[in-house]
Amino acid sequence: MTAPTQIEFVLNGESRVAPAGATLAQLIADLGLRSELVAVECNGAVVRRAEHAQRRLAPGDVLELVTLVGGG
C-alpha cells in the first residue's frame, strides 16, 4: 500500500485537501495570507507561529485560521 498523496482536512468549517506532508506555513503561504496577521488553531489548540514551519497537516485536522477585524 502506498501512502496517500493528498490529505483531507477542515479549514474554517470547509473541507479541503492538501498535499501529504504540507506544513501550516505552506498552507498559509498557498492561501496568500500574511503570516503575521494570522493565528492558527488546530483541533481546538493554538499552534504558535514559531511552530508553523514544522507542523504538518494530518488527515482529519480541524483548523481555524483567524485574523483581526473591526469590532467594538
Binding site: 474554517n12 493565528a39 485574523t67 473591526g70
Partner: protein, 278 residues
C-alpha cells in the same frame, strides 16, 4: 504680573488597567466604519489610545487590506474582544487566538447570551473570566450592570469591570446610573462603561458618575459625521471627567443668587422700581 492672566489647566492621573497605562479615558471600537480611512481619522480625533478589534476567520476569497494596516500600533493599544461568543469555551479559545495574533495578554471578554439582545451571559462570563485570569490574561470584562456580579468579577481578579450602560449599539446611554454608582462603591478596580453610548452627553454623564472610562463604537462609526462625533466624544469624556473630579454642587429646590444680594440700587426692595405699582 497681570492679575487678569491665567493659564492653569487641571491635571488628571492616567488610567491604569492591569499592566497597561492609558492617557485617554475613552476607548474606541473599530467596527462599522464606512472605510478604513474614516476609521483611522475618527480614532485620531477621538483622542483615544486604546482601540478594540474582533477576531474572525480569515477571508479565504482574496487578499484584502488588513485593518491593522490602518492602526498605528505605536500610538494605540489594541484590545481584542471575544465578541460573538455565546459560551465560555469559545470565548476562551478566541482570547487565546487573540494572544497569539497580538502577542499581548489583554482581552476584552464578552460572553453573550443571545444575538437579539447581545446581553452578557453572567454565568458564562464568570466562568471564562476565571479561566483567563488563571492563564495570566488582563481581563477587561464586559458584563451586565449588576453590582454584585461586578464584585464577583473583581474578586476573581479581572483588570477592569465593564458594565453595559444599555444594550450594545442601542444608543440608549446609561440606563441605570444608580447601579453604576453602587458598583463604584463596592469595588476598587477600574470600572469602564462599555456599550450603549448614543451621543456625547451619554459619555459625559457616565464620566460624571466617576467611572474610570467609557468604551464606545457605534455612536461614532454610525453618526452622520463620524469625525465630528469623534471630536465630540473626546471633549465629552474630558468634560465629564473634570466635572467628576471637580465635584458638583448639591441640587437645591430653590434659587441661590450668584450676584450679591446687598448694594442693589433703590435698596433692593421688591416692587419699588420704575413702572412698579404705587
Amino acid at each position: 504680573m497681570n492679575p487678569a492672566t491665567s493659564s492653569t489647566e487641571p491635571v488628571d492621573a492616567p488610567l491604569v488597567v492591569g499592566r497597561t497605562t492609558l492617557r485617554s479615558r475613552l476607548l474606541v471600537g473599530t467596527g462599522k466604519y464606512a472605510t478604513n480611512e474614516l476609521m483611522r481619522d475618527a480614532l485620531a480625533l477621538s483622542g483615544t489610545d486604546c482601540v478594540t478589534v474582533a477576531v474572525r476567520r480569515v477571508n479565504l476569497g482574496r487578499g484584502e487590506p488588513s485593518l491593522l494596516d490602518y492602526i498605528d500600533r505605536a500610538r494605540y493599544q489594541i484590545l481584542p474582544n471575544t465578541a460573538g461568543c455565546y459560551d465560555a469555551k469559545t470565548a476562551i479559545r478566541t482570547a487565546e487566538l487573540a494572544r497569539e495574533l497580538l502577542g499581548s495578554t489583554w482581552v476584552k471578554l464578552e460572553v453573550l447570551g443571545d444575538p437579539r439582545t447581545l446581553l452578557p451571559d453572567p454565568i458564562g462570563t464568570l466562568e471564562a473570566a476565571r479561566e483567563l485570569v488563571a492563564q495570566g490574561f488582563d481581563v477587561l470584562c464586559y458584563c451586565s450592570d449588576d453590582p454584585r456580579l461586578g464584585v464577583r468579577l473583581a474578586e476573581i481578579g479581572v483588570a477592569s469591570v465593564m458594565p453595559a450602560g444599555s444594550p450594545i449599539g442601542s444608543g440608549q446611554g446609561v440606563l441605570n446610573p444608580n447601579a453604576i454608582r453602587i458598583l463604584l462603591e463596592l469595588i476598587d478596580k477600574p470600572v469602564i462603561v462599555d456599550a450603549g453610548v448614543g451621543t456625547a452627553s451619554d459619555v459625559a454623564a457616565a464620566m460624571e458618575l466617576g467611572v474610570a472610562g467609557v468604551l464606545l463604537n457605534s455612536a461614532v462609526a454610525l453618526a452622520r459625521e463620524p469625525l465630528r462625533m469623534a471630536a465630540a466624544m473626546r471633549d465629552a469624556c474630558r468634560a465629564g471627567r473634570n466635572a467628576f473630579l471637580a465635584g458638583r454642587i448639591e441640587r437645591r429646590l430653590y434659587a441661590n443668587a450668584s450676584s450679591p444680594l446687598d448694594g442693589v440700587i433703590g435698596g433692593g426692595v421688591i416692587g419699588t422700581g420704575v413702572g412698579a405699582k404705587a
